[in-house]
């Protein structure tokens, strides 16, 4: 073999490119780069179009996996030792507090970023099929909803593990909401807790769900999500460019193949893409995409690390089934649900509909169902694919934003609740409440 190769080249390259064409080939042949297309549309790398929210969510997931594995080495999922091991992580283990704090901040951030990503996709109509063949973006939108639900379940299951008062009562409320599901509610709670009480079985089940089942589900769904993005011809802004170019040229759209840029032989792996991507619109994935990816990852890690340094993860008193903290509040991303379950108990004559069912099962269920089928009901034209706030979709964007605003209002209302569910402004002190009966 050729001499004078660096260690880097010997490990990662079997051959090195000498032309632009060979460079595209090289990306496909490189182990670390082969999951990128050889060339990508410059527009799809724009910060202004996608805000890179999906990438940030993925980086946060990697960060959570890393810190999570460290925490798994230090945490004992048993009722007797869980709280003490978290206390040790917080006060005894070197930098344990930082790893735990980073894990918590990244988890909160991931919930927020995944939701913002969903908003971006809705507002830009990016769940809509564009002009290219064999697209199935509505399916990818549904995969995205499943990823959002998995993210929420991950944060919910992680909430129990410290086995402190915060954990215990959040799970009490959460699993009681599950019993409000019609017919199978009690069975769901029973199998989730492995019994009637939140005890050892429940802790172990939540631990396994949190550390193995749900992360695996996220990984599989994420792979499917990314694969579909590729099969759909990239981000939705590609379809917008394709349409714009079609206006300029009267000739119909030729199809071009992505992977063939890298693999010159055969036509086995080929993907129809939306646009005639003129060479000046396309940039090589390495280094342009890779550079931005690193930049976004770096920014995410810096931001979460700084926040983790400033905001310590709380650890309350050990779980005590006989004393409910006053107030007992859900984390911020579930506060709107907590408000809903408290507000929606309906009385029709002598018949009472529990708010746990209306606010905890019915309304969230309908919201999920509505968002899942919306791409199939959205009748706007392909001109609104991959465009921020198109006039054609103004009304549905407005409805979507109103729902988001409603959720935000409920979250703010929830944060203002004090003891006995009364309202207190942030500057008002809470009254002294005896802590025990």
């Amino acid at each position: 073999m050729a001499t004078g190769r660096t260690l880097w080249e010997r490990i990662f390259w079997s051959w090195r490119p000498e032309s632009s064409r060979e460079a595209g080939d090289a990306i496909v042949r490189n182990f670390l780069l082969h999951w990128f297309p050889a060339k990508v549309l410059r527009e799809s790398l724009s910060f202004r179009y996608s805000l890179w929210l999906g990438t940030i969510a993925a980086v946060l997931f990697v960060l959570l996996t890393g810190t999570g594995v460290i925490l798994m080495f230090l945490y004992v999922p048993s009722v007797e030792r869980a709280y003490a091991s978290v206390k040790d992580i917080e006060y005894v283990v070197s930098f344990g507090w930082f790893v735990r704090s980073l894990h918590r901040i990244a988890a909160h951030a991931m919930v927020a970023v995944v939701f913002l990503h969903m908003m971006r996709v809705f507002l830009t109509g990016a769940y809509k099929n564009g002009v290219a063949a064999d697209q199935n973006r509505p399916l990818n939108w549904i995969i995205g909803i499943l990823l959002l639900l998995a993210t929420l379940l991950l944060s919910f299951t992680g909430y129990l593990l410290p086995w402190d008062q915060l954990a215990y009562w959040a799970i009490t409320v959460g699993t009681s909401i599950a019993t409000a599901a019609p017919w199978i509610g009690d069975d769901i709670r029973f199998v989730l807790l492995g019994g009637h009480e939140i005890a050892q079985n429940a802790l172990l089940r939540f631990y396994v769900l949190h550390c193995f089942v749900l992360p695996t589900a996220v990984l599989l769904l994420f792979s499917w999500h990314m694969w579909r993005v590729r099969k759909d011809g990239g981000l939705a802004c590609a379809d917008r460019l394709a349409r714009e170019h079609r206006r300029e040229w009267t000739t119909p759209i030729r199809s071009k193949t992505y992977s063939l840029l890298g693999i010159a032989r055969g036509r086995t792996v080929h993907v129809e893409v939306a646009a005639i991507h003129e060479e000046e619109q396309m940039v090589p994935a390495s280094p342009v995409l890779v550079r931005r990816l690193f930049l976004v990852a770096l920014g995410t890690i810096v931001a979460t690390s700084l926040l983790a340094l400033m905001i310590r993860a709380p650890l309350e008193e050990p779980a005590n089934p006989s004393v409910t903290p006053n107030p007992a509040k859900a984390p911020w991303y579930f506060l709107w649900l907590q408000e809903l379950v408290a507000l929606t108990t309906v009385r029709i004559g002598t018949y009472t509909l529990n708010g746990a069912f209306v606010g905890g099962v019915l309304i969230p269920g309908l919201l999920i169902l509505w968002s899942a089928i919306w791409p199939y009901l959205d009748r706007s034209s392909t001109a609104s694919v991959g465009v921020w706030f198109p006039t054609e979709r103004r009304r549905q964007n407005l409805v979507f934003l109103l729902i988001v605003a409603g959720i935000l209002v409920l979250i703010v209302t929830g944060t203002l609740r004090g003891p006995y569910w009364e309202f207190y402004w942030p500057w008002e002190p809470w009254p002294e409440i005896p802590r025990r009966f």
């Binding site: 004393v323 409910t324 108990t345 006995y420 569910w421």
Partner: protein, 192 residues
Amino acid sequence: MRKAKSLHPSASPSERSVANSLEAEAGSAPTRRLFLKRMGLGAVLIGLFGHVLAWVRSLFPNVLYEEPRRIKIGRPEDFAEGGTFLEERRLFVFRERNTFYAISATCTHLGCTVKMIHLPQPKRVQIGGRVREERYEFHCPCHGSKYYGDGTNYAGPAPRPLVWYKLEVAPEDGQLVVNLDEIVGQDFRLTV
């Protein structure tokens, strides 16, 4: 969904014969091959279903190492007049001279533990036609449900009154026994 692919005119004879045999297999009279194929597939599916069933069933525990549901809570004379909160059982036990009754402290909305609030001065309330003098109430810290002293819900999201449990006297040592599996009405009184 795509219908069965029509072959390109330039398809070779061997490709055509494969396609023909596939069509024959799909629609026509059962052959031994088809029968065996379906039997095999069915066996695999049944086997897989059995496995999944076993996995899911194993997650529903048969034995629970939880507190018993019928518990001795102490001798009647040891209870003070008025309400006593049994922290471990999440239960209020009330004594009015020689009568006893027990009310659950678990909020009927989402299962938080309600707190007993002693009113500064007694107030008279009407509950379903009956007039009752209230000296205390139950308030839930989670979502603000409120109950009268007999457990009747009157404010907040709680859908039902607090549950009353049956009290008995253990024949062997005279202790009070609460049965958490037996729910009784608000007129229940145990006279000792």
